[in-house]
């Protein structure tokens, strides 16, 4: 009986926000964005593996939660709660109502992708998430955010195409499209290489990993705090999560692809660090931080491909690592401050958000006020600490007289270095 209830909860996690995304259905509900997260929050508390096969859905799909997925679900719930808390929930305004639709649609897509038990489900829900997120960006963003959003959707379409082709290759190799089965089938398939690169390219594009980070860093320049939180919590986190689930890691050694990916990861880290320190600004700290941390993750994937034994040894760290990266970035975003501090040209939507936050604080009473004060204190302290570290780092760089090189560092130079490294490897 309880298993059936758990399975229904699993389904409800995705279906509930989807239903609330329909304006008529949420018209008379208070706080629909918060209400939509409840089934997911409940599911986190169910400390047992649950799965639900839906043979009639799409091409036959299902949802499942285990210890690894629970990490990601916790992360998603945290991100959505944070984002919901800084968003409006008034249904009186048409623009707010439309933003709520995109918000809930994106949430359903994200939770569906996290809980999907197979490739088709992941593809379907992550696509819904991607387009919903685009709507969210364009709906609430200023001109710069909308520009970044346009770039995002180009990458999203390209990523979807690559992922679809990878999906076809996987389906051709095995009829069982659950993640484990596909990883095992693709490890020994004739089309492994093509599948691998298609899937990898798709996740690099989706997560905004170097060299496809342009939309991501542009967003961090001008987006609001809630959007920045969602950027790291949705495209970036789901991209990294997807890479873990789709790529045949820890099964057989792939020295060549592993090295290339390691180089891409290291280059991303170096590029991110150089850009961060060469033109340091608080505003761009989360952006370049994302490039650096996602680069680190990619480098780890490369090592895992080269050394499957090492990968398996630290397998338990994979999902907590993603959660850690995202939470660290979320903390940095909160510390750096909201878009008013970072960007004077904040839009009208942000005014409404802040007005509502104040209203919430008044109505919610002491607890909320107290939490806000604590967050501000931690933020000030953390920011001071971080700036001190950054200043020290810059002094070191200045002493090395590399600033000129760093400030003129461009993507083309990075690419040149990368190609050089690849050529050196080939020569060896």
């Amino acid at each position: 009986m309880s298993e059936k209830i758990y399975a229904m909860t699993l389904l409800l996690v995705v279906v509930w926000p989807l239903l609330l995304a329909i304006p008529i259905l949420r018209a008379h509900l208070p706080w629909p964005r918060h209400l939509a997260i409840i089934p997911a929050a409940v599911l986190i508390l169910v400390f047992q593996d649950v799965s639900l096969d839906l043979d009639w859905l799409l091409l036959g799909t299902g949802f499942a939660i285990d210890a690894n997925v629970r990490w990601m679900l916790m992360l998603s719930v945290a991100v959505w709660l944070m984002a919901a808390s800084v968003s409006t929930d008034s249904n009186r305004d048409t623009a707010d109502d439309r933003a709520a639709t995109f918000f809930l649609l994106t949430m359903a897509g994200n939770l569906g992708a996290v809980l999907a038990a197979d490739l088709v489900g992941f593809f379907c829900f992550s696509t819904i998430m991607g387009y919903g997120f685009y709507g969210l960006l364009i709906q609430g963003g200023n001109a710069a955010v909308r520009r970044a959003g346009r770039l995002y959707i180009i990458f999203l379409v390209a990523a979807d195409l690559a992922l679809f082709e990878a999906l076809l290759l996987a389906a051709f190799a095995t009829q069982d499209l659950r993640f484990i089965a596909v990883q095992q089938a693709m490890a020994g398939s004739a089309t492994t290489s093509l599948y691998f690169w298609m899937a990898f390219a798709a996740f690099v594009l989706r997560a905004g990993i170097w060299p496809f980070h342009l939309w991501l860093t542009s967003l961090f320049k001008s987006a609001s705090v809630s959007i920045c939180l969602l950027v790291v919590g949705l495209p970036v986190a789901t991209g990294l999560f997807g890479a873990l689930r789709w790529l045949p890691l820890g099964l057989s050694a792939s020295a060549g692809p592993g090295l290339v990916i390691l180089i891409i990861g290291i280059t991303a880290v170096l590029f991110g660090l150089f850009r961060l320190f060469s033109r340091f600004s608080n505003r761009m700290l989360p952006g370049w931080g994302t490039v650096v941390l996602s680069g680190l993750f990619i480098a780890a994937l490369g090592v895992g491909l080269m050394q499957p034994a090492v990968w398996l040894q630290y397998a338990y760290l994979q999902y907590p690592l993603i959660a850690g990266i995202v939470l660290l970035l979320a903390v940095i975003i909160m510390l750096v401050g909201d878009s008013r501090d970072r960007h004077p040209e904040h839009d009208l939507a942000m005014d409404r958000v802040e007005a509502l936050s104040r209203e919430v604080a008044q109505r919610g009473g002491v607890m909320l006020q107290w939490s806000q004060n604590r967050v501000r204190q931690i933020r000030s302290f953390g920011l001071a600490l971080w700036l001190k570290t950054v200043r020290q780092a810059r002094r070191v760089i200045d002493r090395l007289k590399t600033v000129n090189v760093v400030s003129q560092w461009t993507a083309s130079i990075t690419m040149f270095v990368l190609i050089g490294l690849a050529l050196a490897w080939l020569a060896m």
């Binding site: 859905l57 091409l59 379907c124 379409v157």
Partner: protein, 499 residues
């Protein structure tokens, strides 16, 4: 009394009789005309439902009437024909409701609905045809019954478009007739048979069979809008929106594509066609048309023209699926017959709503229209995402099986065509959605009609909503029993695996 042999004939008659009665009705008899239209559509749908149940339980529905010595008019229900009949009957009901709303207050409605019913009669006849001569008869009736619909508005542009349509389709019909007669002279039969009826002739009459195949495909390719025979389709966009929906989703274009499926499967047989080497050029032509149609669509500012070129592209998926000549690709091609119909009719209904309600005909006039007509644009969004092939809308399922079928048939190049087409679809549909949902609406629309608190008339709003939900559910519940996908699997199984 066993009614089974008469049911196919009744299905045809269920729209023919109301059509003939409507021709005789005075213009002011609106209620009677509406009743005749709707009763005919509902009865047809009921009869089709009965046949669906029967075919699933191995019943046999066949009507034979003597036509000429040695030639009979044969109407037969099989899985393939029923797939098309169900699509036509279902969408006819929806289109009838839409047309009643669309043409409210306009002149010559009896004439319009008379030909409208005739058009569906012809389409159902094409679907149920049990031999090539019956197919040809209804195929020509389709040409003759749609011409008055294309020129319905009676303007100079409409007449010119109608003339182009007639020239193309009459020439197509002539080529089809030539191929049919030639084939009959070689085989002595025109009866559609699973895996074809020309097996054994390919060594002796190889060149003749190749020529016949070319003639038949050219004849059918006109209505299926295969490149370079597609020229009539964008011009025919001057017709009223229900006619456009009929041309693109229910009748004309589908009849051509369905004919290609029939010729490859039930005239030549997939294996014989592959042995003759005619499937590869057909696949190449279909692939080229897919890309060509999408590229042309990119540069159209007129919404209906963009949708028309999109049809040119999308219908060729059906031909491509058939020409790949494998069971999985067959599923993809055949199921797209239904999926494309449901998605495209949604888009045309929405285009009609925009034109009728706000006077919007061009994409450049669509700024912020999602705020003024959210339900219409929500339906349009579902249709557009389906065309791109984004899950979970129906188009994703078609592309999935086409891609998988291409890999199975060792024709990996098709994946690039599918990817290219999806990319181009995204390039010409997403900007429309962006414009409609995220741009500021203008101070005034080109020609706004007031519908009170509603965004438009119910008769105009309900059909696209119904078809959009269908497009979504057909994809979402693809693996459900009786879904188009399950039906397409049954067709592929009978074509490829049954002894």
């Amino acid at each position: 009394m066993n009614w089974d042999p008469w049911i196919p004939l009744l299905v045809v008659a269920s729209s023919l009789l109301p059509g003939l009665l409507i021709f005789g009705l005075a213009e002011k008899r609106m209620r009677l005309r509406t009743a005749l239209n709707l009763v005919g559509a509902v009865v047809k749908l009921g009869l089709v439902g009965l046949m669906l149940w029967g075919i699933y339980h191995e019943h046999h529905y066949e009507t034979r009437l003597a036509l000429l010595p040695d030639l009979e008019l044969v109407l037969r229900a099989g899985p393939l024909s029923l797939l098309f009949v169900t699509l036509s009957a279902g969408l006819w009901l929806v289109t009838t409701v839409y047309a009643i709303g669309y043409l409210e207050g306009s002149p010559h409605r009896s004439r319009f609905f008379g030909f409208f019913s005739l058009c569906v009669t012809a389409t159902v006849g094409v679907a149920l045809a049990g031999n090539l001569i019956t197919f040809l008869l209804f195929y020509e009736l389709l040409t003759l019954s749609t011409y008055p619909l294309v020129v319905h508005r009676g303007t100079q542009v409409a007449r010119r478009a109608g003339q182009t349509y007639l020239i193309y389709t009459v020439i197509g019909g002539a080529l089809l007739l030539l191929g049919t007669v030639w084939l009959y002279s070689l085989t002595g039969t025109l009866e559609f048979t699973p895996r074809g009826f020309i097996a054994g002739l390919e060594t002796e009459h190889r060149s003749a069979l190749i020529m016949i195949f070319i003639l038949l495909i050219a004849g059918l390719g006109v209505k299926a809008a295969l490149f370079p025979l597609h020229g009539w389709l964008p011009q025919a966009m001057v017709a009223p929106a229900p006619v456009s929906a009929l041309l693109h989703a229910v009748a004309v274009v589908k009849a051509g594509a369905f004919g290609i499926v029939r010729v490859v499967y039930d005239v030549f047989g997939v294996e014989t066609a592959a042995d003759l080497g005619v499937t590869a050029p057909l696949a190449a032509l279909a692939a080229f048309t897919i890309i060509y149609g999408s590229v042309r669509a990119l540069f159209q500012d007129d919404l209906k023209r963009r949708l028309a070129f999109s049809t040119v592209s999308q219908v060729s998926y059906i031909a491509l699926g058939v020409a790949i000549a494998g069971p999985i690709a067959t599923i993809g091609g055949v199921v797209h017959l239904v999926h494309q119909g449901v998605m495209k009719i949604t888009l045309f209904f929405c285009a009609g709503n925009l034109a009728e309600t706000l006077g919007i005909h061009k994409i450049s006039e669509m700024d912020g229209v999602g705020r003024r007509m959210p339900w219409t644009m929500a339906a349009f969004t579902v249709g557009a995402f389906g065309m791109i092939g984004a899950p979970p809308v129906a188009g994703f399922i078609s592309k999935w099986y086409l891609g998988l079928g291409a890999l199975e048939a060792d024709q990996g190049w098709v994946l690039f065509v599918l990817a290219g087409s999806s990319l181009l679809n995204a390039m010409y549909f997403l900007p429309i959605l962006h414009r409609a949902w995220f741009r500021q609406p203008p101070d005034a629309w080109p020609a706004e009609h007031d519908f009170g608190r509603k965004e438009t008339a119910w008769a105009l709003l309900l059909p696209p909503l119904v078809t959009a939900v269908m497009a979504l559910f057909v994809g979402l519940l693809a693996s459900y029993p009786f879904s188009p996908l399950e039906w397409a699997m049954l067709i592929a199984e009978r074509e490829f695996y049954r002894p």
